[in-house]
Amino acid sequence: MISDEQQDQAALYVLGLLAPHEAAAFESELSANAELRDIARELREAAGAVALMTPLQTPPASLKQRIMHEIAMKTEERTVIPLRRAPPGWVPWAIAAALAVFCGLLALDHLRLQRQLADIRAVDPLMQTTFYALAPSAPAPADAKATVAWQPGSQSGVIRISNLPAPEPGKDYQLWAVDAEHKDPISAGIVRVDKNGVAQIRFKPVEKAEHVKAFAISLEREGGVPKKEGPILLVGSA
């Protein structure tokens, strides 16, 4: 039997109105009480329905594109994350401690190597180049691909595209640099493929892009747009 007081707490809990310590105590009570969980669910459903009392407004269509683009970027990141995972938790503490010591030594060595690398990069343009592999996302053909060689120092790069059919009349492909310091992708110009779906183009973004996380190609109106509007066809990080 659930008391009125418990129901009161449940109502405040689903609305996020309990203080942290009260919420923690209530969660502990919830975990042990199936009937209370049912009440909390009912109250949550009622709270969800309250949102429907606001007059319906439609968000702009560009918001969906913005979100789908961010999701596509996150999917790219997801494929990279496993390579960076920390060692599994079953590694014995003793080995972890030993590794920590080695890591410290490696960190020092890494710093030294970074300094040397910076010196080399300063004199060798090839060493300043970062490569980005762009993979297709719907509606691009599954075998479409592109590679970007990007030189942050000169703020220029070269893109090579293959297996990307020419866009329909009235449309163009547009290249974008996704930079950590800019809210929106930075246009790097129109890219036109030949009849075989191939292109090799030198480009320069319209704004300075010092922290490029990824490059992407979208389908836009002919002549290009200042801010991305169309669907992303190819996207990839370094």
Partner: protein, 195 residues
């Protein structure tokens, strides 16, 4: 229990969220189409600024994408889960702004409320499907028919994000009374929507 009582829409939502959890971007797009209207409307009402509401909605959908696998149908429907996520993000933004949303709850006569609900339904009908409009109109009807003190307490708690202490202080009522009004109002709303 939740499975037994789930509506067809809830079942469809669960299927969509399961696909989203598996990384299906087209299912995510479909879920966006279904939820974005009500969630955007909520964010807009709470934040009072279209650009802020759009940013909040973007955060919510990115959160849905990354948390879809942790969605628990035993706790809530997909719709309610998404609504409460949106409300939470809007509250975070309000806190970041360093101010709380001031919600003026007037004790309007019932006729005025019905007129307001009718106007809101017209806005919605122009923008959305008849099915969604019916659902929203039903919720408004039920809410408008709650005792005014219960509706007022729910308004302040849900949209104003006032704590129960602040609501009690604003209404000049004992804390226990305010808690009971929120609870009774929500339970009555749920009960009425089930019938």
């Amino acid at each position: 229990m939740a499975d037994v009582t789930a509506t067809a829409q809830e079942m469809a939502d669960r299927a969509m969220i399961a696909r989203v959890g598996a990384g299906d971007q087209s299912a995510f797009g479909a879920l966006y189409d279904r939820l974005s209207g009500p969630l955007y409307s909520l964010a807009l009402k709470m934040l009072g600024d279209a650009s802020d509401a759009q940013d909040a909605l973007q955060e919510v959908f990115v959160q849905i994408w990354s948390r879809a696998r942790t969605y628990d149908p035993e706790k809530s429907s997909v719709f309610s889960w998404a609504v409460l996520l949106t409300r939470s993000r809007a509250i975070d933004r309000l806190r970041a702004r360093g101010r709380r949303l001031r919600v003026v709850v007037e004790s309007k006569p019932d006729e005025a409320r019905v007129a307001e609900a009718t106007n809101a339904s017209m806005v919605e009908s122009a923008a959305d499907t008849a099915e969604k409009s019916d659902e929203a109109a039903r919720v408004r009807y039920v809410l408008n028919n709650l005792p005014s003190e219960q509706r007022q307490a729910i308004d302040l708690a849900f949209f104003g994000h006032l704590t129960h202490h602040e609501i009690a202080s604003q209404l000049g009522e004992p804390l226990g009374t305010v808690k009971a009004r929120i609870r009774r109002g929500l339970l009555k709303l749920r009960e009425q929507l089930r019938t």
